[in-house]
């Protein structure tokens, strides 16, 4: 895997076998199916060094991951990670506790954080072993995929 050459990057994170944990992967899959030629779409398990490697050099990065904040299932939260640290406890742990949060903060410490890194969190309900999203999370996945498609369109038409 090498650093992205695309200006716009979308990364969906999750575990496909932990029900709602797959929300980020499902958003990425929908955008891949729509073959957005203006950006790269990736699915990741959330391993931190791989994320750092992927977004190194990209200008505009959107990350989608499942969260557990206590909000209602399917709620979508938006964080501008370029401007402020993420609220660590709501993102689900990754292997060896080197996941998304650590990747963002280590990139920041190494001055490799993309200038525009937006992270969307979709509130999950069921993180037990198994496949399939909860109805509210499925709805949020469809909404966010559409929102991102629009955001990318605007971004292409009116770059920052």
């Amino acid at each position: 895997m090498s650093a992205s050459t695309s200006r716009i990057l979308i990364i969906g994170i999750g575990n496909a076998y932990r029900h709602d944990d797959a929300a980020g992967l499902q958003v990425a899959r929908r955008l891949k199916e729509q073959a957005l030629s203006s950006c790269e779409v990736h699915e990741q398990v959330g391993e931190g060094t791989a994320l750092m490697d992927l977004w190194k050099g990209a200008e505009r990065v959107f990350v989608v991951d499942a969260v557990q904040s206590g909000a209602v299932a399917g709620a979508i939260q938006r964080f501008n990670a370029s401007q402020q640290p993420l609220p660590a406890p709501i993102f689900r742990d990754s292997t060896h506790t080197f996941g998304l949060i650590e990747a963002v903060e280590l990139s920041r410490a190494l001055k490799q954080l993309p200038s525009n890194l937006v992270i969307y969190g979709i509130e999950g309900q069921n993180f037990e072993a198994g496949t399939g999203l909860s109805p509210a999370v499925l709805g949020a996945v469809n909404d966010l995929a559409e929102k991102l498609r629009q955001e990318v369109k605007v971004e292409v038409a009116f770059p920052l």
Partner: protein
């Protein structure tokens, strides 16, 4: 997530040291240490990550599914699970994978050791020695060092991705060999990066050796594989520094697993001898003479002899193994000729098979019994972390009394560092960390 809480001392002479969630380890565990009159009277490495029941749900599955199912046990060492699984199945079916297919298995294992060891050395363990809360804080002062670690890890990822089909949970390993083997030119693309990685690994050994180490030599019972010609990955006899020398199939008649109330991971002991130590330090002590000349030279330059019994220096030995893995990977790539077929035939029969390979954290034992259709009747998996639990507790019992005068927070940190000497993988071990020191 780190939340330490120190129990309030009821008297000057007793205390509780308690770490609710151990940081910088894989999975969920904690630590509880009870001290009375400056004596440690109880140490519990608590593993409360829920059991995962892999052995149970392997029953009824086809033998061919085993490498892909067991790879899911760990995101850090999936190759180890795949390798122990395929060797156990091949043992059951009476076949042996040789030549270039065997070499490719060593190569993919090199990739996993590089990835896993580099993550632990740079991101999880080095901050302890250098006095940082984590790798992020360390990166603010040691940016170029952290960058080197990230690049070095990538060299390992590149091997696993090429041979395993993808970086995490690789899918190209099968009983009998691989689904697809690389061309010479594909492997050659790894060589340049690995030459850089070998130099970076040498720097890593020097850097690790420059760290401050507490004086803590212990008398350990080391267990590792030993092969006549090679530093061990996939094959060899199980040996110890106290006379054990058995075939892998004799594992269960020599080792027993015991259930303890405070851990979801079974504790493993060597019959009549007790707790034993597996992993890089055990391999190093039992196989120094099998390291490549470059790795041996780097060890000597780092001030080590062929024996080392200070677990805090495991960071040096882990670095030496990164160097060895880069060196070995380059040797395999230079000698590679693509095999005619990616896998040998697998004659299925009703049988039992045994496999033990050297995962980054130590020996990983698998045993399967299959029927004549190759359906699994029962399975047994013993991961390295569950084997190291008792030794970790013993280390803490010895270590804490020497440092009781330290402030509570620092003592807690030192205890966590002592646990991280073993790079525990709690997710693997559950059937399996929180620190509590109880001073009364």
């Amino acid at each position: 997530m780190l939340s330490r809480s120190a129990g309030k001392a009821n008297s000057m002479k007793s205390k509780i040291i308690k770490v609710d969630y151990l940081a910088r380890v894989e999975g969920e565990g904690g630590l509880y240490i009870k001290v009375r009159d400056n004596r440690v009277v109880d140490v519990k490495l608590k593993i409360f990550e829920p059991p995962r029941f892999f052995e149970a749900f392997l029953r009824g599955r086809n033998f061919a599914e085993v490498p892909d199912i067991t790879a899911r046990i760990c995101g850090i060492c999936p190759i180890a699970y795949q390798m122990s699984a395929v060797h156990a199945m091949e043992d059951a079916f009476g076949i042996k994978v040789n030549g270039q297919l065997r070499a490719l298995r060593r190569l993919i294992y090199c990739g996993e050791w590089i990835e896993s060891h580099t993550l632990h050395v740079y991101m999880l363990h080095a901050p302890d020695f250098l006095g940082y809360q984590d790798a992020i804080q360390m990166a603010k002062d040691h940016g170029s060092v952290v960058q080197r670690g990230l690049q070095l890890k990538k060299a390992g990822n590149a091997i696993v991705t090429l041979l395993g089909g993808r970086e995490i949970h690789p899918i190209n390993v099968r009983v009998g060999g691989f689904y697809k083997v690389p061309s010479r030119s594909e492997l050659a693309t790894l060589a340049e990066r690995l030459k850089w990685a070998r130099d970076a690994a040498l720097e890593t050994v020097r850097w690790a050796a420059s760290m401050p180490f507490p004086d803590f030599e212990q008398d350990y019972l080391f267990v590792a594989l030993r092969h006549p010609d090679e530093y061990p990955f996939n094959e060899g006899r199980l040996v110890s520094n106290r006379g054990l020398d058995i075939a892998v199939g004799e594992y269960e008649s020599n080792f027993v697993e015991e259930q303890v109330e405070h851990s979801h991971a079974l504790h493993s002991v060597l019959k009549q001898q007790g707790p034993y130590f597996v992993g890089p330090m055990a391999r190093y002590n039992l196989n120094f003479d099998r390291l490549s000349p470059l790795a041996q030279e780097a060890a000597r330059e780092a001030g080590l002899t062929s024996a080392c019994c200070n677990p805090f220096k495991s960071i040096i030995m882990r670095s030496i193994e990164i160097l060895y893995a880069c060196d070995e990977a380059l040797r395999i790539i230079a000698q590679y000729e693509p095999p005619e077929r990616p896998a040998i035939d697998v004659p299925v029969r009703a049988a039992s098979g045994y496999g033990c390979t050297e995962a980054p954290r130590g020996i990983l034992y698998h045993r399967y019994r299959v029927d004549e259709q190759g359906t699994i009747l029962d399975a047994k998996i013993v991961p390295p972390t569950s084997q190291n639990q008792r030794v970790i507790e013993q280390d803490l019992a010895q270590f804490v009394p020497k440092f009781l005068a330290l402030p509570e927070a620092e003592l807690g940190w030192r205890c966590e560092q002592a646990v991280r000497n073993y790079d525990p993988c709690i997710s693997c071990a559950t059937h399996f960390l929180k620190l509590e020191i109880d001073r009364g």
